[in-house]
């Protein structure tokens, strides 16, 4: 499969995931943007040696996008399996990223798959497929993000083994940034402190603070020779706010670490 994914555990999530996989239970991952949910799934898929089918969910996602649909070719029509069906048949991990974005009627096809039945019914073909033993359903969502408008239905959430993710502890986050970007430890440490300053503004002043992913971007830019302050402005300040005064304040915070 792909190259090895670097993953530094937050907590005991690897264990929990392993047990869930052993017992063929579906898993729900919660956590803010860019804290490592997707990376974790990729890492686990590698460890368990299963293929992973990732679907980024959106408003217009229909059940047939997951299950599959008939397509046309010169000979006539043929059936094309969707990512969910493929994972069910081959025994892989189907990962639905940001599952709350999908319409509620879409998530209902997951119900018979996520309980003891472990079957997928395909309406169009009238088939009912029994899931492969290695099939595993993993969904993720971000509770902070517009959750008042779009929550997961309780009947859906109650089918999952759930675990919460948050940004890593500063020391760990530092290691990750060094590992991913090749930047020196000192700069990584300052980037992490800066991110933690910005995270204090979360919820009331800015919608969502700088993620580990953005930190890695900033570190990569700095490592390739961009001035630190400029890199922070464009990777950590501009992406998280549009308000001029807020940006001015963030610039001052960046100044306390990296002089221009």
């Amino acid at each position: 499969m792909q190259n090895n994914h670097y993953y530094l555990p937050h907590n005991r999530e690897i264990n929990i995931f392993n047990f869930a996989a052993q017992n063929r239970l579906p898993v729900l991952l919660k956590g803010p943007t860019g804290c490592g949910k997707t990376r974790f799934v990729e890492h686990m898929a590698e460890k368990l040696n299963r293929p992973v089918y990732t679907v980024a969910c959106h408003d217009d996602l229909t059940a047939s996008d997951l299950v599959g649909r008939y397509l046309l070719n010169p000979e006539g029509t043929y059936w094309q399996d969707g990512p969910l069906t493929r994972a069910v048949k081959e025994g892989g991990i189907c990962y639905l990223d940001e599952v709350v974005e999908a319409r509620k009627d879409t998530t209902v096809v997951l119900h018979p798959l996520s309980d003891h039945r472990r079957v997928l019914s395909i309406g169009q073909t009238g088939e009912t497929i029994k899931a492969h033993d290695d099939f595993m359903l993993v969904v993720s969502y971000n509770p902070g993000y517009q959750n008042m408008l779009k929550g997961l239905k309780p009947s859906t959430r109650q089918r999952f083994v759930a675990m919460s993710f948050d940004y890593q502890k500063p020391e760990n986050e530092m290691t990750i940034i060094c590992q991913e970007s090749g930047i020196n430890k000192e700069t990584a440490k300052q980037l992490v402190s800066l991110a933690n300053d910005l995270r204090r503004l979360n919820d009331h002043d800015i919608e969502e603070a700088a993620s580990t992913r953005l930190l890695i971007y900033a570190a990569m830019m700095i490592n390739s020779g961009m001035p630190a302050k400029e890199a922070c402005m464009s990777c950590l300040a501009e992406p998280i706010s549009d308000d001029k005064d807020t940006l001015a304040a963030i610039e001052r915070i960046i100044d306390t670490y990296f002089e221009s």
Binding site: Y70, D197, R200, L201, H204, E207, D245, A249, I253, E259
Partner: protein, 608 residues
């Protein structure tokens, strides 16, 4: 002539003794929002507010010219108490304006790390050293500031003995923070160190009174004194009831009288001069009792007589309140009284609104006609390829099924909105010759209601005011189930401002009402003109924390709170209450009737 010479002399002598740079002056008011963010990001408590500090008297050695001019006695220093971070109202110490700005940020950074100063000399050095170590980006600025600061300090050659040694220690501590542990003792106060924090003045600690406050209304003027600096407050304990009581018989008093010619015509007009007196005072003593010395009559003159008041519905509803000091929700603390104006006349929409109302209605009626595709129709605008494919691939085809079309249908909006208006006394303030804030709020409510009837969304309109926790008045202007008609219009037009703003209780009640409505999106819109406050302890941080709590509860119920405010200073606390995207500030009050519907559209079509 005398006066002119005096004034000229004063200006001249003050100028020569002054060491501030007017061209480089930076005002706190221009920086308050970025500084607030900066403070929170660096670890300061999110509930604290940045306010201008008052000048403090220092007893330090002054130069002859300064003594002659009477300047340099008082300085603005920075300190923190439980609710506020006090920073100088403006800074003009240095020639370079960027350095003056940097000083603000530096003081804020220090404050975020040092909530209270115990040992002035040691603590400041320790925090400086820590900050410089953690945040290397500050080094350059700090050294610039420290150097500039030392340049402006008294000359060493002018000092002797202990004072000399103390000054040396301070200057050295500024250059190399963390090296010095004890400050040599000397006469007087050392010249203020601008880049350090000071302990909170003891006098600013409020005297706790359990006594409930009287609701006095002898406001001098509704216009706030916009002077930037504040005064040191001293709360005096005047609760003793026996003061001034004569305990012996009046007949035994000796008395005499003599004639004195007094011109009292000037003394009569004392009110006007109070402000200038206050400016001259160093300490303003504040009494907890509004009318000391007068007889106390304990009834609320404010409240209208029962027959003139709205009809109270039921016995009232008991609601909890959050006390941040105890971190506890006090059950049944507030009594909320739903009220209905039952004697109003049915009224048509006022003439001056009809034009805008028509435009708004047109805009809102589009909402009902927003479309989306519906698939598998027997006839329609376009072929539904998916449906055809699916039918074609069926092993047994149903010839009767001919649903190969898709057509556009109108979207079903499923929205309930509760509009909660602040009807406290402060809305009585005038905004122009003939209009006050409450008129604009009424117009807004009417226009919003007009527009909503055409959008077809469910909505309710309520208003609130309060007199302590025992009477939170909750006016029903339009229930969710009611249709909007001349009667409801009459009720909206009949609202009168009064009393105070206990926002938490009103939001809790609104939350209850709104959560009973069945809708996919439930919006709680609050129109306010200022901070939550009431005449008991419900002010400052207490009111803010309670309101915040109520909003968090509403969010937990799946409601979407949003605040539209006309308070220009609201940015500081509203983001803490409603979240970053949870509010809109209206700079021009007269625009409110148009901005509210616009915000509503933004909020409800965002997810459609």
């Amino acid at each position: 002539m005398e006066e002119l010479i005096g004034k000229t002399w004063h200006r001249l002598i003050c100028q020569t003794s002054q060491h501030e740079n007017e061209t480089a002056r930076i005002h706190l008011s221009d920086l308050s929002w970025p500084l607030t963010l900066f403070y929170r990001a660096l670890g300061g408590h999110p509930g604290k507010k940045i306010v201008p500090a008052y000048a403090t008297r220092f007893r330090h050695k002054r130069r002859l010219i300064q003594r002659i001019a009477g300047t340099d006695q008082k300085h603005f220093i920075s300190w923190q108490d439980e609710e506020h971070l006090n920073l100088p109202p403006s800074i003009a110490y240095f020639e370079d304006a960027t350095l003056n700005t940097s000083l603000y940020y530096w003081l804020t950074a220090m404050s975020a790390k040092l909530p209270s100063v115990d040992h002035w000399f040691e603590d400041n050095q320790r925090i400086c050293a820590e900050l410089l170590k953690e945040r290397p980006g500050l080094k350059k600025t700090y050294h610039k500031l420290a150097k500039a600061c030392i340049d402006k300090r008294p000359l060493l050659s002018e000092l002797q003995n202990n004072e000399y040694e103390r000054e040396i220690a301070i200057q050295d501590a500024l250059l190399k923070p963390g090296n010095h542990h004890t400050l040599p003792i000397a006469k007087g106060d050392p010249f203020p160190v601008w880049i350090w924090l000071y302990p909170a003045p003891l006098r600013a600690v409020p005297v706790k009174t359990d006594e409930q406050l009287e609701s006095g209304s002898n406001k001098q003027s509704s216009k706030q004194n916009s002077s930037e600096s504040r005064k040191m407050a001293q709360r005096i304990d005047d609760r003793k009831q026996t003061d001034g009581l004569i305990v012996f018989q009046a007949e035994s008093l000796f008395s005499w009288s003599e004639q004195a010619d007094l011109d009292r015509s000037q003394i009569d007009d004392m009110d006007d001069d109070l402000i200038s007196v206050a400016e001259d005072l160093d300490i303003v003593s504040v009494s907890r009792q509004r009318r000391s010395g007068m007889a106390k009559l304990k009834f609320d003159l404010d409240l209208p007589a029962a027959e003139n008041d709205d009809l109270p519905l039921g016995e009232g509803i008991r609601l909890p309140e959050w006390d941040y000091r105890k971190s506890k929700l006090i059950e049944d603390y507030c009594l909320l009284q739903p009220m209905l104006a039952d004697t109003v006349e049915p009224t048509a929409l006022p003439e001056h609104l009809s034009n805008i109302a028509r435009k708004l209605k047109k805009r809102f009626s589009i909402l009902q006609t927003q479309r989306s595709w519906q698939r598998r129709q027997t006839f329609g605008d376009e072929i539904d390829l998916d449906a055809w494919l699916q039918n074609t691939t069926q092993p047994v085809r149903d010839i009767n099924r001919q649903d190969y079309y898709q057509s556009q249908i109108t979207n079903q909006r499923d929205i309930a909105c509760l509009l909660l208006a602040d009807l406290s006394m402060s809305t009585d303030a005038m905004i122009s010759e003939e209009k006050n804030v409450i008129d604009v709020i009424k117009d807004t409510l009417l226009l919003f209601a007009e527009a909503m009837t055409d959008a077809g969304d469910q909505f309710g309109i309520y208003g609130f005011s309060s007199v302590k926790n025992t009477q939170v008045r909750y006016h029903i202007l339009k229930n969710f189930k009611e249709t909007y008609n001349d009667m409801t219009r009459g009720r909206i037009l009949a609202t009168r401002p009064g009393f105070y703003t206990r926002m938490g209780a009103a939001i809790r009640q609104s939350t209850q009402i709104l959560s009973m409505q069945a809708a996919k999106q439930r919006l709680l819109m609050v129109i306010s003109d200022g901070k939550p406050n009431d005449i008991d302890q419900y002010e400052g941080r207490y009111g803010i924390e309670d309101t915040r709590r109520a909003i968090i509860e509403a969010k937990k119920q799946g409601l979407q709170p949003f605040c539209v405010t006309i308070d220009n200073q609201a940015h500081d606390y509203l983001s803490y209450l409603f979240g970053d995207n949870g509010f809109a500030i209206v700079n021009d009050v007269s625009k409110l009737p148009l901005i509210l519907p616009r915000q509503y559209l933004k909020l409800t079509t965002m997810n459609a």
